[in-house]
């Protein structure tokens, strides 16, 4: 690695001032499992930073809180281990616990943060489809204060986010899922751990009896950003939760995707996975929804 200046602020405001002062030549560092690799390989999507603003001493970034009224608040600096192991996440946001629980190895999960996974903006990010189906809101802090953005608008392209160079992702807020909701996440990888998703799918279904009152479907690694599969959602809305409905929605999800062929898989295989995985996950989410109410 080439050298850089290293700053370790203790508050969000201090971190934002440092980023502003640097005028685009600084980069915030969270767990380092993506950024440090990119620095070593000189493979950053931005000029090599003159300053690293490490967030590891900013304790206000690390909390996870849950309440029955406000839902879940995840500090951007919460590690994958913290997120995947948190009782409220496991119980109320099961698809997110699943996504956070498969990022790399235990070593990776102990370092990597939820905010880092989102800000690295890989189309394959394992926490992105779950955050999309739970309609997470990104709380962003900059020199002029706070703003919020739906997570779907946060992702702009591979490695590209809505953040300006002097802004930080401070937290993610996930509203309480309506009662009668079941959700699930799955990714396809040749290896169970320590691999990158060929395709990732998350779904959340809210049932009233057998009727689908609300459906959320999100896909990873099949487009320039993780995305909501809106055609699939429309095919589910108001329908009866059964195999036929799920098959139609799975076919619609394929239309929502625009995968490429790369070293991990062909576009054709990715489309096949979107269909198979979406149908299976919808059935699983429906079972969970029935179990929850």
């Amino acid at each position: 690695m080439r050298t850089f200046e290293y700053k370790a602020p203790e508050t969000i405001d201090e971190a934002v001032s440092l980023l502003k002062e640097a005028g685009g030549s600084a980069r915030p560092l969270a767990g380092g499992t993506d950024l440090v690799v990119q620095l070593k390989e000189r493979a950053t999507r931005f000029p090599y930073p003159a300053t690293i603003v490490s967030l590891d001493r900013v304790s206000e970034l690390r909390g996870i809180d849950f309440s029955e009224t406000d839902g879940l608040r995840l500090g951007a600096g919460a590690t994958m281990t913290d997120v995947a192991g948190h009782p409220a996440v496991r119980e109320r946001y099961a698809a997110l616990a699943q996504g956070a629980g498969v990022v790399g190895s235990l070593q990776t999960m102990n370092m990597a943060t939820i905010g880092g996974n989102v800000c690295n903006a890989a189309p394959s990010a394992d926490t992105a489809p779950p955050l999309l189906v739970y309609e997470a809101e990104a709380v962003i802090v900059g020199p002029n204060g706070r703003r919020t953005l739906p997570i779907a608008e946060f992702f702009r392209g591979p490695g590209e986010t809505a953040l300006a160079s002097d802004e930080l992702l401070a937290e993610l807020r996930l509203p309480l899922p309506p009662s009668g909701t079941g959700a699930a996440f799955q990714r396809n990888t040749p290896r169970k751990q320590m691999d990158i998703a060929v395709v990732g799918v998350a779904v959340a279904l809210t049932l009233s009896g057998d009727t689908i009152e609300r459906a959320r479907v999100a896909l990873g690694a099949v487009a320039p950003t993780p995305l909501r599969a809106t055609a699939a959602e429309a095919a589910l809305q108001g329908q009866t939760a059964n195999e036929e409905t799920f098959a139609k929605a799975a076919a619609a999800a394929v239309q929502d995707s625009s995968p490429i062929s790369d070293l991990r898989a062909s576009a054709e295989f990715r489309r096949h996975l979107v269909k198979v995985m979406t149908a299976r996950l919808l059935a699983e989410a429906a079972n969970r929804a029935k179990g929850s109410s």
Binding site: T3, Y6, A8, V37, S54, L106, N110, M111, Q193
Partner: protein, 159 residues
């Protein structure tokens, strides 16, 4: 760039070290503190040969910057033995022959010790999952898993 001082507790001993900010924890431990048990395999967090425990959680030290370790408790393979006796995990790897070239073993043993501390009676699947971040290119893992099972058994028995 001038060096800066950090203080860390390495294997129970507090040390002050002069570092440059772009050094990794692994480089610092191997080159400034002269503890060369931890290895650099890939340098990109994939192989786990550099695994250390930081504040009780295992990390790939090749991806942690030295200043991030300031004030932290770091345990390396050298810190597992006590009073000249090997850790039961180290002894079990010797007794089962759970190694060939040995390069991955320091990281493997630090990860295995962490796994057993969290779960004293791991199933084979839990061992596989716990060691998924540690690659071995020689043995095919069968004897490594055997070593971890034996170590867990001995530790449960009070070793």
């Amino acid at each position: 760039m001038p060096k800066q001082l950090i203080t860390l507790t390495i294997n129970g001993r507090e040390r002050e070290v002069a570092i440059e900010p772009h050094w990794t924890l692994l480089e610092t431990v191997r080159e400034a503190l002269d503890l060369t048990g931890s290895k650099e395999g890939c340098g990109t967090g994939d192989c786990g040969a550099c695994t250390m425990s930081v504040d009780g959680r295992i990390v790939t030290s090749c991806l942690m910057l030295a200043p991030q370790a300031n004030g932290r408790q770091v345990t390396t393979i050298e810190g597992l033995q006590s009073n000249g006796s090997l850790d039961p995990v180290q002894q079990a790897f010797i007794d089962t022959g759970g190694l060939q070239c040995g390069f991955c073993i320091p990281g493997m043993i630090v990860a295995a010790r962490n796994l057993i501390d969290d779960n004293p009676n791991p199933t084979i699947d839990q061992i596989r999952e716990g060691l998924a971040g540690n690659l071995c290119r020689c043995t095919g893992y069968a004897k490594i898993y055997e070593a971890v099972e034996l170590a867990a058994e001995r530790i449960r028995g009070g070793a």
